[in-house]
């Protein structure tokens, strides 16, 4: 956050039958920001209130330096005057228009909301069409598209409106596993290229782990935690570090790539990680990898003669029972955070306790960028 890009400020209070949304958020001016929490915790309501589709009262919303709502000062901009892009859970395309017509609908109205003033911030329409592989679909009707294609059009349409923030309400939730897998790479490409912040509502931890740089954890209408995804995902006191999907993110620098073995080596403060990668990237590039807690095992001495490539020294920072017989162990590996899910028997046998030094063996590492 800096003076040019002050990010998003939102103070919202809104009464609902099941809960009261009461949040005070200060979010970065770029990156993928996940609004995460169980169903009915107020994620979608929060997003709609930001967009002006619901009226929070009292409320304060400032995005990229412009005030959209400030009840103390009597300011309220209706949705169509807010420079935002919104992707609904179901694509919500206009069925009476072609794909091109849908995208042009947004583009034609850019001037009317003063959005063009920040033209450099988002992406050009041609770029969005390109990014989402829509060139061959432009003349099709929405009714003839698959679920994944419809959602790609919806995202490109939202970007064509030259928004200062992109709001996405569980864009994958209505898709089956296959379509989800088809759309995720597009979202990852978006995460890499977009210069505006993306607020992404989700209750699926695996999606969030792949995309989020910043996380807001909501519970019963309130913010339970807000911070960088790396930090929040490794916190044992939060529900993120629980169960099968628990994972952490480690950032490192590409130090070597073996193209014969398709193996990249990342250097980070705690050592090196090897990861399968079929694309050669420039050395020195910053990359993020995701490591799932269930793929990490612990040993007291460095093992040799093992097929596991990634073995890093680490210190136990905390542990907590995850499920009967299973414990989640938080580790610090030279500043990088790891989680390991191991059995209660191993916890006892290895004498796992905060401060214990040991080695983390990582069986699976997934590149995120």
């Amino acid at each position: 956050m800096n003076a040019e890009n002050p990010g998003i400020q939102a103070r919202l209070r809104l009464q609902r039958s099941q809960f009261t949304l009461d949040v005070d958020l200060q979010l970065p001016g770029r990156g993928f920001i996940a609004l995460f929490g169980p169903s009915g915790c107020g994620k979608t309501t929060c997003l709609r209130a930001l967009a002006g589709l619901e009226r929070a009262h009292p409320g304060l919303v400032r995005v990229a330096g412009s005030t959209w709502q400030d009840d103390a000062a009597g300011i309220w901009l209706p949705t169509h005057q807010r420079a935002l892009g919104y992707v609904f859970q179901e694509a919500s395309l206009f069925d009476h228009l072609s794909v091109r017509g849908n995208i042009m609908y947004a583009q034609k109205r850019v001037q009317s909301t003063g959005r063009s003033a920040v033209a450099g911030a988002a992406v050009a329409v041609e770029q969005a069409v390109d990014l989402f592989g829509l060139a061959s679909l432009m003349d099709r009707r929405p009714a003839t598209l698959s679920g994944g294609e419809r959602q790609r059009v919806a995202i490109a349409r939202a970007l064509a409106a030259q928004p200062r923030v992109l709001l996405m309400d569980e864009p994958l939730a209505a898709l089956d596993a296959g379509r989800k897998a088809e759309l995720l790479p597009y979202l990852e490409a978006l995460q890499r290229t977009l210069a505006i912040p993306v607020l992404y509502v989700s209750h699926a931890l695996d999606e969030v782990a792949r995309l989020a740089t910043h996380m807001v954890l909501l519970d019963a209408g309130r913010v339970r935690a807000s911070g960088s995804a790396e930090v929040l995902m490794a916190r044992l006191d939060l529900p993120l570090a629980q169960g099968d999907a628990a994972a952490t993110i480690v950032e490192g620098t590409l130090v070597h790539h073996d193209s014969a073995e398709h193996l990249s080596t990342l250097g980070f403060a705690g050592g090196e990680l090897h990861v399968i990668s079929t694309t050669a990237r420039p050395l020195g590039q910053r990359l993020r990898v995701r490591i799932q807690a269930r793929d990490v095992s612990l040993t007291l001495e460095r093992q040799s003669g093992t097929s596991i490539l990634n073995i890093v020294p680490a210190t136990v920072t905390g542990l907590r029972e995850d499920s009967p017989g299973q414990w989640m162990v938080a580790l610090d590996a030279g500043g990088a955070r790891l989680l390991a899910r191991i059995t209660q028997r191993s916890v006892t046998a290895l004498g796992i306790a905060p401060g214990r030094s040991l080695f983390a063996q990582v069986k699976g590492v997934a590149l995120l960028d």
């Binding site: 169509h80 005057q81 919500s92 069925d95 947004a106 409106a161």
Partner: protein, 225 residues
Amino acid sequence: MGFTETDLRAIGLTLRLAVTTMALLLLLCTPLAWWLARTRSRWRGPVSAVVALPLVLPPTVIGFYMLAALGPNGPLGQLTTALGLGTLPFTFWGLVLGSLIYSLPFAVQPLQGAFEAVGERPLEAAATLGAGPLDRFLTVALPLARGGFVTAAILSFAHTVGEFGVVLMLGGNIPGVTRVVSVQIYDHVEALEYAQAHWLAGGMVVFSFLVLLGLNLTRRTRLLP
């Protein structure tokens, strides 16, 4: 044998009445149906009931009250006289007014159903893309509800063509002015001109069948909610 001169005049008058009524109803009912489809006001129920009244009332009741209201001593009659329009009963425009009431639910209900089927979401999506309220209505709601407009147009047209009771009470039986096809058939039967009555009545059956067939082929929304 075919149609007589007066038959043709009755057919022409009927078509003129039905087209006029249909056009006016589409204009007037669009905002009304839009309001009914989206309001959360407590007036929604009573207004819906009033709109549906012509469905259940005998046309003679509608005609009788309109005659009373539009006559020289009725409140509307005094208004039209004061405006220099004279009294409307037994004139073409009196019939138009009666037909508007008579066919009102046949225009409002398909439009309301179509607007309800469009739902909130496409309008919200349009708002997030920078479209203001009127823009949203014209570029999203209207095109998405077009099936409802086709249905409303066909139904209000056809229903007006089939009008009898209201016409008889409010318009009387003046050739070329208020004598529509249904009244002409009645006259033929009264005069025992069964062949003439057959021509017109048969024509009405064929016409109605074609209208309903066309409706089935074109409509995308339900007939009535």
